[in-house]
């Protein structure tokens, strides 16, 4: 939100540098059940973002002092791999990844039936293989799919997408240039069946009107992302049961 550029991010016809319209999200591909060891997993691409997510658990909570005697906790580790960005990222946690991990865990906690597993931990690992703006949304979207793939009871599958503003236009799903040189970024995650908001951040500068317009676009897009998530999960199931015949003998 801070940089300046002479680049035209949105042209007079309302077309963005990657050819998208203002209300168009980047192409998304989701695959569930991509890892062997994890209890649930997901690979997701949105535009140039590539994300791998694994879920382990519910399992004994470590470290023990974090145990909750009444319900499970979700522990998330969001990690950007060293080569995921143009300038190599130094491995290890930084303040940004700690914050994102916390927000993802909290968003997921509002849909998972945590009270079924007192004292346990559900561990969510989000690895960013390639980053191009919007990785927290991509990570959360993948994490929800991985949780469902792990067979964890949850009331809905959470999709996430950002809206924002660049060259004075309200945009859906900012790419890296729009994120760097635009005027606002608003990542959003919802529970599709109720339209509750479970993740919301904003930085930049937007009027009330622009913000509402952006949210409308993001809500609509989030529902579309949710369909892609559910489709990935159904495909996974079909794969597992592809050899299965009609019914019991």
């Amino acid at each position: 939100m801070s940089g300046h550029t002479d680049m035209v991010l949105v042209n007079d016809e309302g077309i963005r540098i990657d050819g998208r319209r203002v209300d168009e999200k980047r192409p998304i591909r989701i695959e569930a059940g991509v890892l062997k060891n994890a209890d649930g997993s997901c690979y997701l691409e949105i535009g140039k973002n590539k994300v791998l997510c694994a879920v382990y658990g519910p399992r004994e909570c470590r470290p023990r002092h974090l145990q909750d005697p009444t319900k499970a906790i979700i522990q998330c580790k969001y990690n950007m791999q060293a080569y995921s960005v143009n300038d190599r990222k130094r491995p290890g946690t930084d303040r940004r990844s700690v914050e994102i991990s916390k927000l993802i865990a909290e968003a997921l906690s509002s849909v998972v039936q945590l009270e079924l597993y007192p004292r346990a931990s559900i561990d969510v690992y989000v690895e960013i293989l390639q980053a191009n703006a919007g990785t927290r949304c991509a990570g959360l979207t993948a994490a929800s799919v991985a949780l469902a793939d792990a067979g964890i009871p949850m009331r809905d599958v959470v999709p996430a997408i950002a809206c924002g503003k660049a060259d004075g236009n309200v945009l859906l799903d900012l790419n890296k240039e729009e994120d760097n040189y635009g005027q606002a970024d608003v990542p959003l995650a919802i529970v599709p069946s109720t339209d509750e908001i479970v993740l919301l951040q904003m930085d930049g500068n937007m009027t009330r009107e622009e913000f509402e317009h952006g949210l409308d676009m993001a809500f609509k897009a989030a529902h579309e992302v949710n369909e892609i998530q559910k489709d990935a999960l159904r495909r996974r199931y079909t794969e597992i049961s592809k050899k299965e015949g009609d019914s019991d003998e």
Partner: protein
């Protein structure tokens, strides 16, 4: 790796099979698992590769960035290798700074690449004494079913083999005295393919490319890296048990033979 309990029944079963010269997945004692290689998968990296060695799955990315040389080698590019055993890959891997296992892994892979002279670091000089290319190799385990050493070695080698040096992208020209040469992005200057072959000792047997269960019941591990000529370039013995001179001799023979096989697979 740490505090993972393998059942006595599993242990006995594997030992009984080995006593008949067999392994649980049907392999010969000196047979490696199926290798699949994908390269060029990460666009933000100058080189990348994902290797599947059976169910072990490893990704490596190479970043090539201009930087300052070391004073004792003012005209040489700099190689750095890191590895992380991220908890995504196995229930026994814990979050946090690299464990001693991860550091050993990175150093063994690094040694093979460095000592074999796989990368001609002289060609990574931008201006002697001032600027050179720094090559960062970062390795992440994605799914762990044993033998991360060979999987990581392969991922690093395949990522380097397909990497570019981004002269043009960074607007760098080669400066040699008064001569300034404009450069295109060029392939990484690769001279040979160092291939490591890891074996584990279980009872009195040595098995090549151990899987998770085999590693768990083994007492010692030996990794041997060879170059294209079959010469030895790096070795590492690990584990709390010992190996005999005879064991070593067998491992050396196999490392040369299997190194040849693997070099044919990855081309």
């Amino acid at each position: 790796m740490s505090n993972y309990v393998i059942s006595q029944i599993k242990r006995d079963h594997l030992m009984n099979l080995l006593a008949e010269g067999r392994r649980e997945d049907g392999r010969q004692l000196d047979e490696i698992r199926k290798i699949t290689v994908e390269t060029g998968i990460i666009e933000s990296a100058e080189g990348s590769a994902r290797i599947r060695l059976g169910n072990t799955d490893v990704i490596a990315g190479v970043k090539v960035i201009p930087g300052a040389p070391y004073m004792d080698a003012p005209g040489d590019g700099v190689l750095t290798t890191g590895a992380e055993l991220i908890p995504l890959a196995h229930e026994s891997f814990e979050p946090g700074p690299p464990s001693e296992e991860a550091i050993e892994l990175a150093r063994v892979v690094d040694r093979g690449i460095r000592e074999s002279g796989m990368i001609d670091v002289k060609q990574l000089c931008i201006k002697e004494g001032e600027e050179i290319w720094m090559v960062f190799i970062d390795i992440y385990a994605l799914d762990y079913d044993g033998n991360l050493f060979d999987a990581s070695n392969l991922a690093a080698v395949c990522a380097l083999k397909t990497a570019i040096v981004p002269w043009k992208q960074y607007g760098k020209s080669k400066v040699e005295g008064d001569k300034v040469t404009e450069m295109d992005d060029v392939p990484m200057p690769v001279t040979c393919l160092p291939i490591s072959v890891t074996e584990c000792k279980i009872g009195n047997d040595l098995i090549v490319d151990p899987n998770f269960d085999e590693e768990a019941i083994s007492t010692a591990r030996l990794t041997i890296t060879t170059d294209n000529n079959g010469n030895f370039r790096a070795m590492q013995k690990g584990g709390k048990g010992s190996i005999t001179r005879g064991d070593l001799s067998l491992c050396l023979d196999r490392a040369v033979e299997i190194g040849k096989q693997i070099r044919e697979i990855i081309g």
